[in-house]
Each structure stands twice: as structure tokens, then as C-alpha cells.
């Protein structure tokens, strides 16, 4: 698993980590059942704080992308494959938004605020 982060970027490191792993799952490079390296290993190899990595893993757990179990660490969930099915749709949506001149931030807001089924 390749991880690249830029500590000088405005995006917080934990968010970059989570994005990197999310992208790997989306591209099918990380499959359900795959065990992520321990947070300690990731922190050591990148030279970042352990809690930064833990925060990234927790964010992914909150999204349902990974399961964190004692002794096993962070494991990609079966539900994670669902995101891979969305990749083509995401690509189409992003390109369409670019065509229309809608910023990525606005698009993200649109998706986040879109009412879930059942709400009026």
C-alpha cells in the first residue's frame, strides 16, 4: 500500500491519509478483508504523529470503510466494495461539475446536504 502525504499542504495530514486509503479502496487496490498496516507502522514510516494516523483510521471506521478490532487492527469491510461501484459515477459527476463550472467544494456540499431517503 502506497501512501503519499504533504505536511505543508493546507489539508490536514489525517485527512490526506484517509483520502489515500479511500482512493485505494475505490480503485480496487485494497480489497475487503485486507488488513491495513498498524497505525504505529504508518506513523513511523511517514514520520507523523501516531494520533494523526489513529484519527484517520477512526474517520474511516465512522464511514464504515474499515472495522477496527482488538488484535487485528483496521480491516477493510465488505461494504467498502460498494464505493468501488460508485467510482465511475463519481468520475462522471466530477467531470460534469467541472464542465458546468461548479467548484469541487460546492459539489461536495451538494452531496453532503442531499436529503437521505425518507426525508421530505
Amino acid at each position: 500500500m502506497l501512501i503519499r502525504i504533504d505536511p505543508t499542504s493546507e489539508e490536514p495530514v489525517f485527512a490526506q491519509l484517509a483520502s489515500s486509503i479511500r482512493a485505494d479502496v475505490g480503485a480496487g487496490r485494497l480489497k475487503p478483508g485486507h488488513r491495513l498496516p498498524s497505525a504505529k507502522e504508518v506513523a513511523e514510516s511517514l514520520g507523523v504523529n501516531l494520533h494523526t494516523v489513529l484519527r484517520a483510521y477512526q474517520e474511516l471506521r465512522d464511514e464504515g470503510l474499515v472495522d477496527i478490532r482488538r488484535g487485528r487492527g483496521a480491516v477493510i469491510t465488505d461494504a467498502a466494495t460498494a464505493t468501488t461501484h460508485l467510482e465511475a459515477d463519481v468520475r462522471a459527476l466530477v467531470r460534469r461539475a467541472e464542465e458546468l463550472g461548479v467548484s469541487r467544494a460546492t459539489l461536495t456540499g451538494l452531496v453532503r446536504d442531499f436529503p437521505t431517503k425518507g426525508d421530505s
Binding site: 502506497l2 501512501i3 504533504d6 505536511p7 514510516s45
Partner: protein, 333 residues
């Protein structure tokens, strides 16, 4: 023998020199022993002490049985695994395996034959003493046949070469990048180790016809050592980061580290565990250097500035290699 342009022919020649001929030799020895069974005592000597006096005895038929089964077992195990390991690579170099199998027939086969012949027309097995000469002579014959096996086995070198050097990852200033992976002993590797142990234990049971507690405890101790060694060498964490390449067993030991500054070349190669390294696990090869060999297939190979090589079988070796090259390039700036 020089290169051959026909890969299939190279494999066929290996099967002849490294499989069929050694097996035929063991079979021939066993047949001769069976033919001579009526002329040896019913109980024969199978073990001698340090002064050459026989101290272990067994039924005479254990000789042809051991000669054939042990010989067949070793040659098939080593030769078969080496052949199976060629499936992922284009180049084929099984000269060493041929040497080992033919050499084993030359040494072990002729030694067992000699020990049996000593007892033909003997009045009683207790009188058959053993000097150094048979062991020395058969060992020399084994080495000679090993050399013959090496010489008679051609290689096939893929015209494009089997090693690939991926483009280095272009790391931006301030960027941090790491590649993390795990490599685990394959089922085939585990099976090979288990089969090897069965052969060793089986032959020890046949040969160690003694109640000496020290012999039994040494055997048990050796088995425990092999199992422990196998366990600590079955799962390794592989890491590429700014500090270089680090490969460490999940048990904590053994571990290997190549600092970025000591990296001369980085390649992705195809590994044949039995053919290239003589087996699975932590291996040392005169031609390929140190290896962490968990399965057949793609591997990361680093050559240090001092010439030493280190190889680790790992999935997605290309990305790991590209990153290592990327870190290497950064230190050169």
C-alpha cells in the same frame, strides 16, 4: 553448457539429468540390493559407532526400501519443486538443482550400496566394521557427479531479461511517502517444508536404530528448532520509506534493512524458490545473495553499493521498487 534458445528443450534436459537419471540410479541400486538379499544376513548393520564397529541393526530389506524411497523422495521433492517454480519466470536456471540431485545419487546412493555390499556373504552383521574410505570415496563421487549434473544442464536466458527496473516515483519537496506490505509463506512453501521434514524424520527413524537417549533428544531438539525457525520465518512486514527498505518478521526477528544511501540498484524480478534459493524462508544463495522467499513469483531485489544483494518476494513489488528508487533519487540531489 551454453544458453539454449529453446526453453522447452532446456526443461526437458533438466528433467533427464536432474530427475530421471538420479531416480534411475537409486532404482538400480535398490534392484541390485534386492537381488543380493539372499546373500546377506537377515539382520544387517545400519549404523556404526565412531570406531567403526556396528551398533545399530535392522532387517536386510530396509536397505533397498530406504535406498529407493529416500532417493526417490529427495529427488522428486527437490526437482519437482524446482520445476514448479519455473512457471512464473521466462529464464530457467536449474543447474544447481541438477547438481544437488545427481550429487545425492552419487553420494547417498553409492554409500548405501557400499554399506550393503560390505555385508554380502558376511557370517554375522556384528563383524562388519566400517572404515573412513567408503564415506570419503562416495562423498568425492557425489561431488564429481554434482559437477557433471551442473555441466550437463543448460540454461535458458530470456532475451529481454527477467529483471525490470521501474521508473522512480517523483517525490516533491516536503512530500513524505511510504509503501507498506506483508508477505506470507505460501501453502506450497509450507507443504514443501512439511514434506522435507517427513523425509528427514522417516529416514532418521529407519537409521537411528538405537535407544540412546542422546540420539532421541538430539532428533527431537532438531525438529523443534526447525519448527521454530519455520514459524518466525513465515510472515514478514515489508516497508519502503525515506530510511530505505526494511523487512522484518512479525515475530520481531529476523529483520533486514537496506539504508537508502546503500542502495545501488532496485529491480523487480521473478523468483523460483527451490531453483534460485534452494527453498523457502530466510535463504542464502551464492548467486543471488540473501532472500526472504515466501512464494514463487515477483520480488523486489536490491543490490547494495558493496555488491551484496537482498531479495524479498512481495506482491506489487513494482510500486515498492518505484518508491525505493524515488527515495534513492532524492538523496542524490
Amino acid at each position: 553448457m551454453p544458453h539454449s534458445h529453446d526453453r522447452a528443450r532446456v526443461l526437458a534436459r533438466f528433467r533427464l539429468v536432474g530427475l530421471w537419471i538420479p531416480i534411475a540410479l537409486f532404482a538400480a541400486f535398490a534392484v541390485v540390493q534386492m537381488a543380493l538379499l539372499p546373500r546377506v544376513p537377515e539382520q544387517v548393520a545400519v549404523h556404526w559407532d565412531a570406531s567403526g564397529r556396528p551398533d545399530g541393526f535392522a532387517a536386510a530389506w530396509t536397505y533397498p526400501l530406504t535406498t529407493f524411497l529416500l532417493g526417490l523422495g529427495m529427488v522428486l521433492l527437490i526437482g519437482g519443486l524446482a520445476l514448479a517454480g519455473t512457471r512464473k519466470s521466462t529464464s530457467v536456471d536449474l543447474r544447481f538443482v541438477s547438481a544437488v540431485n545427481l550429487g545425492t545419487a552419487g553420494f547417498l546412493g553409492t554409500l548405501l550400496m557400499w554399506l550393503f555390499l560390505l555385508q554380502v556373504d558376511a557370517a554375522a552383521p556384528t563383524g562388519v566394521s566400517l572404515g573412513m574410505w567408503p564415506v570419503v570415496a562416495t562423498l568425492a563421487l557425489g561431488v564429481a557427479l554434482g559437477f557433471v549434473g551442473w555441466t550437463l544442464t543448460p540454461r535458458y536466458l530470456s532475451p529481454d531479461g527477467d529483471a525490470a527496473t521501474p521508473e522512480p516515483v517523483a517525490l516533491r519537496d516536503g512530500e513524505r511517502a511510504a509503501w507498506l506490505g506483508t508477505t506470507t509463506l505460501s501453502r506450497a512453501g509450507l507443504g514443501a517444508i512439511a514434506a522435507g521434514m517427513v523425509l528427514v524424520i522417516g529416514s532418521l527413524v529407519l537409521v537411528l536404530q538405537t535407544d540412546e537417549p542422546i540420539a532421541i533428544w538430539t532428533t527431537v531438539g532438531a525438529m523443534v528448532l526447525v519448527i521454530v525457525a519455520g514459524v518466525v520465518c513465515s510472515v514478514f512486514r515489508v516497508r519502503v520509506d525515506a530510511s530505505g527498505l526494511t523487512v522484518r518478521s512479525v515475530a520481531g526477528w529476523p529483520g533486514f534493512h537496506v539504508p537508502t544511501a546503500e542502495v545501488r540498484t532496485v529491480e523487480v524480478v521473478q523468483v523460483n524458490p527451490m531453483g534460485d534459493f534452494g527453498g523457502w524462508g530466510w535463504r542464502l544463495s551464492p548467486t543471488h545473495g540473501t532472500g526472504v522467499v515466501m512464494r514463487t513469483g515477483e520480488a523486489l531485489r536490491v543490490t547494495r553499493t558493496d555488491g551484496r544483494m537482498f531479495t524479498v518476494t512481495i506482491d506489487d513489488a513494482t510500486t515498492a521498487a518505484a518508491l525505493l528508487r524515488g527515495h534513492q533519487q532524492k538523496t542524490r540531489v
